[in-house]
């Protein structure tokens, strides 16, 4: 018997063997295509949103506004990339925002207050991200605690550390050496202003996507998330893979801290602590399963863009702030419903 059904997993360019028993309706076939390329469905939602908001307010589609949306998405998009890695292993990280804030405070304070060279400060920020990842990873792999709990606990710890370390003080961008705020610089590309932070986020996405799809490590991440016991029995060092995922995500969070400093031209303990749920929202709207092992980083990027477009578009459309909250809630449910309907192709 010949079977057809594409993997949602790192499979690239699916081989299409001939089907001698194909009895599908056109609708099924569309769903099939969407299912084979899971990033299409959030892509469609995004395009629809852009069209609708463009219709509601002319200014929405102006290059300057679109460029703003990308800048608004850069930080949460980077956090969501780290979150995607964790969620692919069937984990969840409630501490991404807190780790980013801690790293950004360390970067800013060590360079501005302690006079370290900017590169050293960034290096220390990276060290903070890695240390936070290592701590979370240790608790998840060694003590076998559920990631939800680990990061719920470490969220509090990192928040307290940030405030204890910074004393709640904000470091202004104009006091920092220019390397730290570099990520906020923009350059024009065909009329659209692109910030270096957006470029960095995009580079990270491309790199992580290539690594996940192209390397053995990437496959092991999917395998571990899919069924850790099966992966263990197949000879994969599950703890090692998990630890490396937490470390990688910690490193990405350090980059997010840098992007964040450039974006708000400041390092403040108040910035971005609430971005945990936003990052999870982006991942889920992007079609990655919270049960692990299924999903792709492209979806996450689209998910982050969808949320960003919604927030910006609703605001341009002049909706009352409370109704914006309402609309974002409805969006989350609607976007995932559409995705779920498409995924029915599998069942």
């Amino acid at each position: 018997m010949s079977q057809q059904s594409a993997s949602e997993v790192p499979a690239s360019a699916p081989d299409l063997a001939e089907e001698f028993l194909d009895r599908t309706t056109p609708l099924d076939r569309v769903r099939g295509v969407l299912h084979r390329h899971p990033a299409i469905s959030p892509g469609i939602v995004l395009v629809l949103a852009v069209i609708v908001f463009g219709g509601l307010n002319d200014r929405f589609l102006e290059p300057s506004n679109l460029s703003l949306v990308t800048q608004q998405v850069a930080v949460v998009g980077t956090l969501a990339l780290a979150q995607t890695l964790i969620i692919l292993t069937a984990g969840i990280d409630l501490s991404v925002g807190a780790v980013m804030v801690l790293a950004s405070m360390v970067i800013a304070q060590t360079t501005v207050n302690n006079g370290l060279p900017p590169l050293a400060g960034l290096g220390l920020g990276l060290a903070v991200g890695l240390a936070a990842g290592a701590a979370n990873g240790f608790l998840v792999t060694r003590l076998k605690l559920p990631p939800f709990i680990v990061t719920l606990g470490s969220l509090n710890v990192f928040l307290a550390l940030t405030l204890l370390y910074s004393g709640g003080a904000t470091v202004r961008g104009r006091d920092m050496p220019s390397q730290l705020t570099l990520t906020g610089e923009t350059f024009a590309l065909g009329g659209v202003n692109i910030s270096l932070g957006v470029v960095m986020m995009s580079v990270l996405y491309v790199a992580v996507a290539l690594i996940l799809h192209g390397t053995a490590w990437g496959r092991h991440v999917y395998a571990v998330g899919d069924d850790p016991e099966a992966a263990r029995l197949a000879g994969i060092r599950v703890s090692r893979v998990l630890t490396s995922v937490y470390l990688a995500s910690g490193a990405i969070l350090a980059v997010a801290a840098w992007i964040q400093i450039g974006r708000s031209n400041a390092a403040s303990p108040n910035i971005g602590v609430d971005l945990n749920l936003d990052s999870i929202t982006a991942v889920v709207i992007g079609g990655t399963s919270l049960f692990g092992g299924r999903g792709a980083v492209w979806g996450t990027l689209l998910g982050a863009l969808i949320v960003g477009v919604f927030r910006n578009g609703l605001s341009l459309a002049g909706l009352d702030v409370l109704w914006q909250t309402f609309a974002v809630g409805v969006l989350i449910i609607a976007a995932v419903s559409v995705d779920q309907w498409i995924r029915k192709a599998r069942k």
Binding site: S64, N270, T325
Partner: protein, 332 residues
Amino acid sequence: LSGCGSESDGDTIGVSLIVKTTSNPFFVAMQEGAEAAAEDAGVELSVAAGQSDGDEETQIQAIENAISRGDAGILITPNGPGVEDALIRARDAGLYVIVLDTPPSDTEAADITFATDNFLAGQKIGQWAAAQLGGEKAVIGMIDIFDDKIVSVDVQRDQGFLDGMGIDIGDPAVIGDEASTGQYSGGEFEIVGHEASQGAEDGGRTAAENLLSANPDINVVYTINEPAAYGAYEAFEAAGATEDLVVVSVDGGCAGVDAVTGGIIGATSQQYPVKMAELGVEAIKQLVDTGEAPETTEGLDFYNTGVELVTDQPHDGIEAITTDEAKELCWG
């Protein structure tokens, strides 16, 4: 690490400071002021805070814990009217309750209030902004704190500002119910929208970007506090729209005063959290030692710790202090 290992026996006086959150520099300043004053006065200070702005539940617990701990008094910046019943219980239990920063809606809830008049703070920057425009059309962007909570500071400053501009604010308890175009004291105005910023730089920037996209002609930006103002200015700078821009804010932290000096913020209303905290600690100490309670400012139902307009571009008839003066008084 304040007050560690407090043994509240009869000799030491215990005072609780309960702030809104631990992450806002305003409250950090307040905490530091209280700690310094407590050290001077020989008072045992315990600090508590809500988990986030608006978190009443945690503050209620902190009030109860203060009663349990046997503190002599409570200094609190309430996260909302929800905590007032707990304050009444604390007073019934014999604690002296001083509400800081935000007057309670129920006068029973506090023995006395040491506060900034937030509506007045808003009015001052509103009047200044109107004068600064000199009759030009005002295209106004409003940057508040929250879109998922309603808190009194947010409402009072926002509405105070519009009132100061001479705009009819409708219901003073509701943000955004005013007409979006009309006449202010100096001419025509247009309100582009109210956006939330979470009171932080990134939120301020995003809010300002969205307002700018909606209307690139914005020339007046009201912001809930200085971090939001700072972020908003970044957005205007990135858009090359800072010329003739009027940014006003409230707080008067040292960083905010610097921003006024640097031309980022046109004017800000300065508050005195450190003073509030110091006065509070001293008042309770004095009450225990001498039985003498502090009194409200004449003509007001609270002790006004004052609010001053800080600007280097003064206008006739609008009382203001310079940034040099403000630097002497600033916090953070």
